[in-house]
Amino acid sequence: MTEPGATLAIESGACASARLDACMDEAATIRAAQSGDPEAFERLVRCYDQQVLRLAMNLLRNADDARDIYQETFLRVYRNLGSFRFDCNFSTWLYRIATNLCLDQLRKRKVRRTEPATVDTEEGELNRLETVPEARPAGDPQRAVLNRELRSGIEQALNGLTPRERLVFELRHYQGMRLREIGEALGSSEEAAKNCLFRATQKMRQALGDFL
């Protein structure tokens, strides 16, 4: 059982997939879920839901939005699982749904051009930057200030990326997906994903130059 308030150590896509392979045959589970077995569907959700939630949280930096994306992603999976024909990996299909939803949400935000500095949580208002774990929360105050500045810089740099650059960067850097998988999940080519990652890293490098 996880301690309340603890931050989950979430696995990368490859790791979760390996876990799934180890504990069950994914294709058999999907077929069982397709034929209406609720436990099989729940097993599928449990195998991938942490990755989906982390993806949404990292991209949207807002717990409510991340919850909406999580729910909508798995509801769409539930509704459309019958039409999944094993043409691609289940994880690719799932990521395609989740990333499209995140992309839509990011595009909406880009138009609004405003993002709240705080989020409403069950415990009250919380600064978004404080959702990011600190390397050394207590101790050296100078270090704590530096960490805050760094996180603020990263936040600004991420906001400077276009929605697609941010998505590709997130999938490669934080989710550990290969560019080929990213291209498949986004319905695009590996080359296009590579260009996108290249632009994103250039922008991040430029924006965070003071910290290097």
Binding site: M57, A63, R67, D104, R107, V132, L158, L197, M204
Partner: protein, 306 residues
């Protein structure tokens, strides 16, 4: 490979996303160039710093998401179960009922029609139109649509024999005939004329729906163009935008796609940016490509990626 090339490739090198040959060239260069080696160290530091940019996901949040999802799935299952039961009932008793039920069903329908007609008052909404001396036209085919000098609309149509009706736009029968003519499959000329007249009445939601249908589905490009022109004032409207996007991505006629891109290019909405980006992957017409690129640049949206 010079220093500039290598520095551009260092991030992809660190992600392990270069081809074998490229990686080999970068490593050879890095082995002999101190400045590029320093840049590599900076990029590695950037990668480690970015680890701090990862948002945490709390166990409570995950548990809450799972609870909410379980409730939503349960609701979805209930809805689906009711749908399945309804379909089973329909299929069992209405689509293919047992043989013994069929004569009884036919008799019941006959009796319902016979007694129902007697029970309804003559001026009821069901029987009223049948009893009136001047029934609304039942259109077989619309032959001609135009306006007279006095501002009346003239529609020629067939019932059993060709008939003519004159009246103002406010006349419900004229309105109905125009809407029917806008989708008359036999004569594109009549459809164009009807849409031309209907464009003055776009405040009417039914008229707008007819125009959207024509834009999306009419087989004649001139009709689709006319419908598109009539919808011009509604380019900001979400449904119209959706139809314009569909046309832009699927219409076979370049003229229609050009008209659609001209309209959409002035709409600053994120979904439009997405459509234009998608368009760049498939569009072969140079003008449309240039127009899309310009619009994306004006929106400050990127292009050439997806």
């Amino acid at each position: 490979m010079n220093c500039k090339d290598v520095r551009e490739l260092i991030p992809l090198y660190l992600y392990g996303e270069l081809s074998f040959d490229q990686e080999e060239l970068v490593e050879q260069h890095l082995a002999g160039c101190a400045e590029c080696g320093a840049e590599r160290a900076r990029c590695e530091k950037l990668t480690s710093l970015l680890a701090q940019g990862e948002a945490g996901v709390s166990a409570e949040l995950l548990a809450r998401c799972r609870r909410d999802l379980a409730a939503a799935i349960e609701k979805e299952r209930g809805r689906r179960g009711f749908g399945i039961a309804l379909r089973a009932f329909w299929s069992r008793w209405v689509v293919s009922p047992p043989m013994w039920v069929r004569p009884a069903g036919a008799l019941a329908m006959l009796a319902l029609g016979f007694f129902g007609a007697r029970l309804l008052p003559e001026d009821s909404p069901v029987l009223g139109p049948l009893a009136r001396s001047s029934p609304p036209p039942v259109v077989g085919k619309v032959r001609l649509v135009d306006t007279t000098g006095s501002g009346e609309v003239r529609v020629q149509y067939d019932e059993i024999r060709p008939r003519e009706l004159r009246g103002s736009f406010q006349d419900e029968r004229i309105r109905r005939l125009l809407l029917a003519a806008a989708s008359d499959p036999t004569d594109p000329g009549v459809r164009v004329e009807s849409i031309d007249l209907l464009k003055e009445r776009t405040a009417d939601a039914e008229v707008r729906r007819a125009l959207l249908d024509a834009l999306r589905t009419d087989e004649n490009a001139a009709v689709r163009l006319k419908a598109l022109e009539a919808l011009r004032p509604f380019a900001q409207d979400a449904e119209t935008r959706k139809s314009l996007a569909q046309v832009l991505l699927t219409d076979k006629h370049a003229g229609v796609r050009i008209a659609a891109v001209e309209l959409l290019a002035n709409v600053r909405e994120p979904d439009v940016a997405g459509v234009l980006q998608q368009l760049l992957h498939q569009e072969e017409d140079q003008y449309i490509r240039q127009r899309s690129l310009k619009a994306l640049a004006e929106m400050k949206a990127s292009y050439g990626t997806f």
